[in-house]
């Protein structure tokens, strides 16, 4: 047995990709059952999975996809019409396949029940849906070739042969699944057939047959004087043949004449379509071929390798900064020039490496249409999910983490946001609810919006819930405005209380959503209007590895504050600091901003120097602002974030460390927890 373990990663990746595309295409098919190109894509994906899994020895996956192919083939030939039960079954198949593939990934023996699905599929194949009675009349086995998909030359060959008393047969040969040398078998079949008559057409083309570029099955048209039984016996005498079907291929003379009248190109197109559907390489479709070639120019790279590349680039950036410092302090003109060059190159290099790590958010968004569909079916709501900006790119590390919070928000929107039909009617809304998932760039951030046109969140009921659950005191609650009340949703544990009494239900695990997004360096906000809908605004950094930061000095220590959370820096006299209810605040453009003394928060050893001037860095987390008092502003710099390691990871106020130009380590402030 061939050692397949080395192909395992590739198999899993490709299988997952194809499963995703199956999911997407099935959704498209559900919306437009007549779209044949979607069917073709589904067929191709299923077929690829079948081929891969058979090679890797995963019989269950291969078997199930094989059965799926049968149904898909019937759909493609318009013998079956795609209806709900078929699409649902296909979805179930995809789900099962997903489970099977994950079992493979986790090295577990699968206990997924494929037999019942296979039964379901074959019963669907046998009993074409009653919703489309017209399709029943057609027999399942029909000649694939007829007047519409043969070229005029072929038709004229057939008709002239018929006149000479020869018969045209369409021969469909299916090789055994375990057939090793498909091309050789095909060659033997063709040879045997040539003995009996003339072959005028093969699908796929002869070259493809010779090269083995075909599925287990191929067809050809044979002009012969012998009867169909003889042909069948002759071909079946070759080993490794599963089945042979010989069907008379009848072309009426009228049709033949008609065909002559029509322009040649139309028929060529038809054949092209047929060929596309038979999932063989497509010589006749240059556009598709081109696409395939372009697809082949990408390389799969282990994310670890990219990580180490990024680390090295990070080192380079640090060393570049060091060089810059040497250049400036020694006033070396020549060096400065060279450093500028290096600067340009490293900046480019850095942005290229960052781009390589970027993945479109579509990768995460892809699975949502299916989820929303299932959920809305389950809840009996009609919901239209609109996705925009799926090509917005985010760092791989962020992409991997963002899925769960989004699932949560979307589920909430579908489950609790969108009202049931009668409610929607009575409030004068469209019957179909709308959930929007939008991604876009905004400066150095990516914004992801989850928006619904449902009933919104009622601040008053949140307040009630919070009071009942003992999350806030009555006196505090009365002081809070609506926005503050709604932000209570993010309190840990608030969720359960809300779910039990089910007022708006929102808040199930919202604290988890918030925590996750904050660990990614992002923020989440809620905008909501009762009766009009809610909007969750997630703001994420493009990457987590290199950030812009402001370096500040506190006594003798240097700290970095991420620029993304800085509003502005101001310069004040000590007497500008006022005290309100025992807390230090400043008044900035009419806004009262609390003051944080960094030396106290960080227990910095004091250096006993009276400062006449104060530097204050105004920072924000979400909509909350605070002023951080520092001794000096050193400057803005690009810093590479380094982890402090497992030994020190539990320190709240420090988000990480970075290495400065002089080789010293500076700590990065976690503004969120400094403000708490």
């Amino acid at each position: 047995m061939m050692d397949v373990s080395q192909y395992m990663v590739l198999f899993l990746e490709e299988a997952r990709e194809h499963l995703q595309s199956l999911n997407r295409c099935l959704l498209d098919l559900e919306n437009d059952p007549a779209d044949l190109s979607v069917l073709d894509e589904i067929f191709r994906s299923a077929h690829t999975i079948k081929g891969m899994s058979a090679t890797m020895g995963y019989a269950d996956i291969a078997e199930l996809t094989h059965e799926m192919e049968n149904i898909l083939d019937l759909l493609r030939k318009a013998i079956l019409k795609a209806n709900h039960s078929i699409i649902d079954t296909l979805f179930q198949c995809v789900d099962t396949l997903e489970r099977l593939v994950e079992d493979v990934a986790n090295n577990e023996t699968s206990n997924a029940d494929i037999q019942s699905l296979i039964k379901k599929l074959s019963s669907l194949a046998e009993n074409p849906s009653p919703a489309y009675p017209s399709t029943i009349e057609k027999p399942i086995l029909i000649a694939t070739f007829n007047e519409t998909n043969l070229t005029s030359t072929e038709i004229s060959l057939i008709t002239s042969a018929q006149r000479q008393g020869l018969c045209a047969f369409e021969v469909q040969v299916v090789l055994r699944a375990d057939c090793l040398l498909k091309s050789a078998r095909a060659y033997m079949v063709m040879n045997a057939a040539e003995e009996l008559g003339d072959i005028i057409k093969t699908v796929p083309l002869t070259e493809d047959l010779e090269n083995g570029h075909f599925d287990q099955q191929f067809q050809f048209i044979l002009l012969s004087s012998v009867d169909s039984e003889k042909i069948k016996d002759e071909i079946l005498s070759i080993s490794e043949i599963e089945t042979v079907t010989v069907l008379p291929c009848i072309i009426s003379e009228d049709a033949a004449i008609e065909q002559f009248m029509e322009p040649e190109t139309v028929q060529e197109n038809n054949i092209a379509e047929k060929l596309t559907s038979s999932s063989t390489p497509l010589r006749s479709n240059p556009a598709l071929n081109e696409k395939r070639i372009r697809g082949g120019q990408s390389v799969r790279v282990d994310i670890d390798k990219l990580d180490s590349l990024l680390n090295l680039v990070g080192e380079l950036v640090i060393n570049k900064t060091r060089l810059e410092q040497i250049g400036t302090s020694h006033k070396l003109g020549d060096l400065t020039e060279t450093i500028e060059q290096i600067d340009r190159v490293t900046t480019d290099l850095q942005s290229v490496v960052m781009k390589v790590r970027m993945v479109p958010v579509g990768q995460v968004f892809n699975r949502f249409p299916r989820m929303v569909r299932d959920l809305s079916h389950e809840l009996g709501k009609e919901i239209n999910l609109i996705i925009q900006g799926e090509d917005t790119e985010l760092d791989r590390t962020v992409i991997d983490e963002i899925g769960d919070p989004l699932v949560h928000l979307l589920r909430n929107a579908v489950d609790h946001g969108i009202e049931r039909l009668p409610e929607r009617r009575s409030s004068g809304k469209e019957a179909v609810g709308e959930v929007r998932l939008i991604a876009r760039h905004e400066g150095n951030n990516v914004i992801i919006l989850v928006e619904d046109d449902g009933k919104g969140i009622d601040a008053a009921s949140i307040k009630e819930k919070a009071l009942k659950g003992g999350f806030i005191a009555k006196t505090d609650a009365d002081k809070m405005d609506d926005q503050e009340l709604i932000n209570l949703l993010f309190l840990p544990g608030f969720s359960t209380a809300a779910a039990v009494t089910d007022v708006s239900g929102r808040g199930v695990g919202m604290d988890a959503v918030k925590t996750k997004i904050e660990t990614l360096g992002g923020t989440v906000e809620i905008e909501t209007k009762v009766g009009r809908g809610s909007k969750f605004i997630i703001k994420l950094p493009l990457t987590l590895a290199i950030i812009q930061a402001l370096l500040v000095r506190v006594c003798k220590e240097i700290y970095a504050i991420p620029l993304s959370s800085i509003d502005s820096t101001i310069h004040l006299k000590p007497e500008d600091i006022k005290t309100v209810q025992g807390k230090e605040v400043i008044l900035l453009r009419g806004q009262i901003i609390p003051i944080i003394r960094l030396d106290a928060v960080l227990n910095v050893p004091p250096d006993n120097k009276e400062q006449s001037d104060l530097f204050i860095v105004i920072v924000h987390v979400g909509q909350q602002k605070a002023g951080i008092i520092v001794d000096d502003l050193i400057g803005q710099q690009e810093i590479v974030i380094k982890s402090l390691g497992s030994l020190l990871k539990s320190i709240k106020v420090i988000a990480g460390a970075t290495i400065l130009g002089n080789g010293q380590v500076a700590l990065i402030l976690d503004v969120g927890s400094v403000m708490k």
Partner: protein, 148 residues
Amino acid sequence: MSQNNDSNEEIQLVIFRLGSEEYAFDILTVQEIKRMTDITRVPHTPEYIKGVINLRGSVLPVLDLKTRMNLLPTPITEDTRIIIIKTEQVFVGILVDAVSEVVSMKCSEIEPPQGSGSIVTENYVKGIGKLGDRLLIILNPQSIVDVV
């Protein structure tokens, strides 16, 4: 290892000084030995964590072994070294007063730690080695790093 009485088996030890006592690590756990460098203090950490240093681009925590083992503090001198050790999960720098030499020692010459009579917290000690009339306290790096 301390129980191993196969007299032919030898281990190599890195000997260092804390105050006036001599200690040792198995050389296999020692990654490198560095001169004293700038240590960045990290707030909200236990006292024995001196801070972090830059080791060729990685940020590494440094432990003050004397504080960790409740020994009397000594000032930083020319001889002060940072021993970088590798344990199961992490690389850590250990601040010591001086590193003197590397010696080979037969396992049979190492005795298991005594139950009492030492100011050193028992857990950290792997064994006591006898080198002529010198006594080496062989430490267990893992337990030093483990956050209690």
